[in-house]
Symmetry: C2
Subunit: 518 residues, 2 copies
C-alpha cells in the first residue's frame, strides 16, 4: 500500500493541517515523496482523547491478550518485509544490514515484553494478611500491585528508526504495562513510521484491541511536541534524543498543573579510561575496538565513546598514533539528516579548529580524533559535552591522580568504561567508585556501544544522561516507568485484580507476609 502522509488518530487517517514536510534521503541529500501532514491542535486533542478512552478498555485486557497483541505487532513488522527495510534505508542512510538487525532487535523487544507480561510477576504483587485479633487495633488485609499509569506520549528517535521509534522500547514497554500510546513520529523517517504504524494497527485489529490504543502524529514544528506533553490526559512521556529537546519537554511537563514524569534519554559522552598497563599490553587491540565503537553507525549512538582517557606516557603516544591511523582509514559516512550533519560539522570546529578534508555532501561526516591534555579537558567545558557523530577526544592525563580529577568533573553518563590489565584495577578503586556515582552502566575491558537487551540491563544514568536516573529505557525494567502501585485494603475478592487473589491464579511471584513465593 502506498504511503499516505497522514496522521493516524487510532485507525482513522487525518490530514487537516495544510503544513506538510518531506523526508530527506541523506545519501542523495534530496527530498523524497510523499508529503507528510503536520498534526494540528484539533488532531492532537482528538488523539489524546481517543487514547484515554482506549486506555480505560485496554488496561482491563488480560495479560495474555496484551502479550498476543505485542507478538502480533512483531509478526506484522516482519510481514512488511523489504518494503520497510528499503524505506528505512532511504530515510536514514543506514545500511540495509543494520536496519535488518535493528528490526530483529525491535521484534525481540516486543516478544520479550510479551513474555514478561504473560509471566506476570513484574507487577510486584505484595500481600499482608489481616489479623482481626491484633491489639490495640485489628490489622487490615493490605494488598498492592502495579497498574498502568494512563496514556503515554512517546517520541520517536532519529538514530534508531525502528528500535527506539514508533514501536521501539518505549512504546513496547508502555503497551506491555497496559498503557495506550500516542506517538510523535520523528520527522527524519516519517515513511518508516507510517509503515510501522500500519503494522501496529493490523495487529490491534487482529487482536480486537480498542481503537486508539496507538495513534501516530507527525510534526516538524516543536508545537506538536509541546501540545502533546501539555495535554491534560497525558500521564507520562518517553523520549530519546538531544539534551535541548529532552530538557524542554521535561521543563514543560514539570510546569504542568499536574506534573507528569518525563523519561528522557539524552545521551552522554561515555568516557573510556584506558589504564597504563592496559595501553601497554593491549594498545593496538583497544585502538581497533575503540575505532569501531566510535564510528559504528557513523557515530550516531547515545553510547558512542566521546572521550578516551590515558596516562601521558610512551605507550599512550603509540596508542594515540594507532587510533589516529585507524580513524583516518575510516571512510566518510552519511549521517541521518542534514541537521545532524551540520551540528557535527559545527561541533568539530568548536572542538578544535579542524582542518581535515571537507565531506562531499552536506550530510556527510568526516571521522575525527581530537587530542587534549588533562588540563585542557578540565578547563574546556565543550569537550565534556556530547558531539553526535564519528569523533572522540583522546585525553592524556599527567598522572593517575588526574584520572580521578577527570572522572570527577564529568556530568552524569549512560556508561563509563575501564580497560585494565590483569591485577591493575585494584590500584584504581577510587576511580571505579567515582565512575559508579557518575554512570548507569560500568563496562570492563569492552566498549559502550551495543546495548544488550535483557533483564539486568540498565540504560539510564544520572542527569544529564537522563531526566530520571532510576529508570531504564532498555531491558525488562523499562516497564516500571509506566506503572504505579495501587493498594487495596480489606478488598472483597470480586474487586481485586487477578494478581492479588488468594490462591495465586496467575502463578506469579508474590511477597506474602514478608516471604517471596510462587
Amino acid at each position: 500500500m502506498p504511503l499516505t502522509g497522514r496522521n493516524f488518530i487510532g485507525s482513522t487517517r487525518s490530514s487537516r493541517g495544510a503544513k506538510v514536510f518531506r523526508a530527506v534521503n541523506p545519501s542523495l541529500n534530496k527530498e523524497i515523496e510523499p508529503a507528510f501532514h503536520e498534526a494540528v491542535p484539533d488532531e492532537i486533542d482528538r488523539a489524546m482523547k481517543l487514547s484515554e478512552a482506549a486506555f480505560v478498555e485496554y488496561r482491563g485486557r488480560l495479560p495474555g491478550q496484551r502479550a498476543a497483541f505485542l507478538r502480533g505487532i512483531a509478526s506484522e513488522i516482519e510481514r512488511l518485509g523489504d518494503e520497510l527495510v528499503e524505506r528505512a534505508v532511504s530515510e536514514t542512510a543506514l545500511p540495509a544490514a543494520r536496519i535488518t538487525g535493528e528490526r530483529g532487535r525491535t521484534n525481540g523487544q516486543l516478544r520479550m515484553f510479551a513474555d514478561l507480561v504473560e509471566e506476570g510477576s513484574w507487577v510486584d504483587a505484595r500481600i499482608d494478611h489481616g489479623d482481626a485479633n491484633r491489639k490495640p487495633a485489628p490489622k487490615p488485609d493490605i494488598r498492592r500491585a502495579l497498574t498502568a499509569i494512563g496514556p503515554v506520549v512517546v517520541f520517536g528517535a532519529s538514530n534508531f528508526p525502528l528500535a527506539f521509534s514508533v514501536v521501539g522500547g518505549d512504546t513496547a514497554s508502555a503497551l506491555a504495562a497496559g498503557c495506550s500510546v500516542v506517538i510523535k513520529a520523528h520527522p527524519s523517517h516519517p515513511g518508516t513510521s507510517e509503515l510501522v504504524m500500519g503494522a501496529m494497527l493490523q495487529a490491534a485489529k487482529s487482536n480486537s484491541m480498542p481503537d486508539g490504543v496507538v495513534s501516530l502524529l507527525h510534526g516538524v514544528d516543536p508545537e506538536v511536541s509541546l501540545a502533546l506533553v501539555s495535554h491534560a490526559l497525558a500521564k507520562a512521556v518517553g523520549f530519546t534524543g538531544s539534551h535541548r529537546a529532552g530538557r524542554a519537554l521535561f521543563d514543560l511537563a514539570a510546569a504542568r498543573a499536574e506534573p507528569i514524569p518525563v523519561y528522557a534519554e539524552m545521551g552522554s559522552i561515555n568516557p573510556v579510561f584506558v589504564l597504563p598497563r592496559a595501553v601497554k599490553e593491549s594498545g593496538v587491540q583497544i585502538a581497533e575496538g575503540l575505532t569501531n565503537s566510535v564510528t559504528l553507525g557513523v557515530g550516531q549512538f547515545c553510547t558512542k565513546p566521546g572521550v578516551v582517557v590515558c596516562l601521558d606516557d610512551e605507550a599512550t603516544r603509540r596508542f594515540v598514533e594507532e587510533v589516529l591511523r585507524r580513524m583516518a582509514a575510516v571512510p566518510v559516512g552519511t549521517m541521518l539528516n542534514p541537521r545532524i550533519a551540520k551540528a557535527y560539522a559545527d561541533g568539530r570546529k568548536q572542538f578544535g579548529g579542524v582542518h581535515a578534508a571537507s565531506p562531499g555532501l552536506p550530510t556527510q561526516a568526516v571521522p575525527t580524533v581530537f587530542t587534549a591534555t588533562g588540563e585542557q579537558f578540565l578547563s574546556n567545558r565543550h569537550l565534556r559535552e556530547e558531539l553526535f557523530g564519528p569523533e572522540t577526544v583522546v585525553v592524556t592525563a599527567k598522572s593517575p591522580g588526574q584520572f580521578e580529577e577527570i572522572a570527577s568533573c564529568l556530568d552524569g553518563q549512560l556508561t563509563a568504561t575501564i580497560h585494565a590489565a590483569g591485577g591493575e584495577l585494584a590500584e584504581y578503586r577510587l576511580l571505579v567508585e567515582i565512575l559508579r556515582r557518575k554512570a548507569g552502566r560500568l563496562i570492563f575491558n569492552g566498549y559502550p556501544t551495543g546495548v544488550e537487551v535483557c533483564s539486568a540491563m540498565h540504560h539510564g544514568g544520572p542527569y544529564p544522561a537522563t531526566t530520571d536516573s532510576r529508570s531504564t529505557s532498555v531491558g525488562t525494567a523499562a516497564i516500571e516507568r509506566f506503572a504505579r502501585p495501587v493498594c487495596y485494603q480489606d478488598c472483597p475478592a470480586e474487586m481485586l485484580p487477578a494478581e492479588l487473589l488468594e490462591g495465586n491464579p496467575m502463578s506469579i511471584w508474590r511477597l506474602i507476609d514478608g516471604q517471596w513465593s510462587q
Copy 2:
C-alpha cells in the same frame, strides 16, 4: 541535657545566625524556651558538603552495619523516655498516649528498615550471564542492583513530630538505602527535633558511622528550605506537608541545572462513598466510624476523610443527622500550631459561612460538618480542596450516576473509600474503576486514617496527593525512592558489590538468567 537551640552540622553544633525563633505551646498559645537559631547559608552549605563526604563512606558500610545503626537509633529514642514525650506534647498539643504510640511506630519503622536492609533482597539484583559463543556477537555478562542515590534532604512534617519528622519514614528509608540525610526540622517542634537528633548522633557514634551521615538545620524562613533543595550536592528530597510548600520545592528542584526527584506527600481529601444499602443497613455504625476518623488527632491527618458521598434518600437524611449529632458532641480540639488553626478557621468560613461557636484559644478548632448537594460539590472547587482539621463535607448525590460524576471530578488522592453492603459493590464497578485511577489506596468498609506500616502498603497517589505517583512514603517500598540501578558489564568479581557475586554470599533473592532464586 538541656536543649541548646543550635543546628547540627553532623555532630558539630552551630549557631552562626542571629535570627532565632521559639516553639509555641499550642495548649497555652505561649512561646516556650529555648530560642532556636535559624541556619544561615554557610551552615547549609557546610551541612551539605559534610553530608556528601559522609555519603561516600556510609554507602560502603555493610548492610548489617546500616541495620545496626537504624536499630541503635530506635534504642536511643527509647532511652530518651519521658523527656521526649513531654517535649513533644508541649510543642504539639497531641496527647501523651498519641506521642507514645507514634514513638512505637517510629521505632517500628526503623527496625522494619533494619530488617529489610539486613535481608538484602530490596536491591533487586539481576544477573544475565554472558555467552562467548553467541552469534553474531558474544553476549556480555550483565549484572545490576540498586545503589544509594546520594545525600537526601528531608523535611520534617508538623503533624507527626516523630513518625514523619527528624527520623520518620523518609529519613529511615534514606538511611536504609545507604544515603546520608540533611534534615530541615519543622519549626513547630524544634525541641522534639533536637532531642531526636541527639539520639541519632548517639547511635551514629556507637556504631562508628561517619560524621555527617545526619545533620539537622532549623529555619522558619522558607529560604532555608529553598537553599537546601537548590544545593548542588542534594540528590533527592523527602517532604510531607502542604500543597503550597510541596509544589514550591518540586518546582525548584525541577528547575535546577540538575533536576532531582522530590517525593512530596501533600495530602488529599480522601473521599468516602457510602453506597445506599450500606447507609440503610449500617448508617449508625458508619457515622460513628467516620466521626472518629474525621476528628482523630483534631483532623490533622493527611488521610482524614474530607468528603463523604451518599445518595439523597431517607436513610441518608437519618445518617447525616447521626453524623451531625456525633460531630457536635466532639469537644473543641487544640491544633498543632496557631498557623494551622488560623488556616482551619479561614477555611471553615470559605466553605460555608459557618456560625458555630468560636473556640476559646486561637489554636483551637471546632469540629464541623458541611453539607452539600452533588451539584454544589461539582461546581465549587473549594469543597474539593483539603482543609486540614476536624471537618468533613457530606455530599448527597441525586443518583448513583452522580457518584461517578463526583468521583471523576476529584483530583488525585492518597485514598478512596467505599462502604458497601453485601453484594452491593457489583452494581458500582464503574465507580471502583474511576476511584482506582484517582487514588493510591482503595479501602473497603473501613476508614482511611491509620496507615498500616507493611510491605504491601502504598501511601502515595496521583498528583496533587503526591508529586510522584510511583512512590510511597510508608512501608518497605519507600526505600526505592532513594536508590537507582547501576549495571556492571563483564565486571571482575573484585569490583562487584557483594549482592551481585556468583555464589550469592548474601543469600538474597535474585533474578538470574530470567529465573528468581535465593
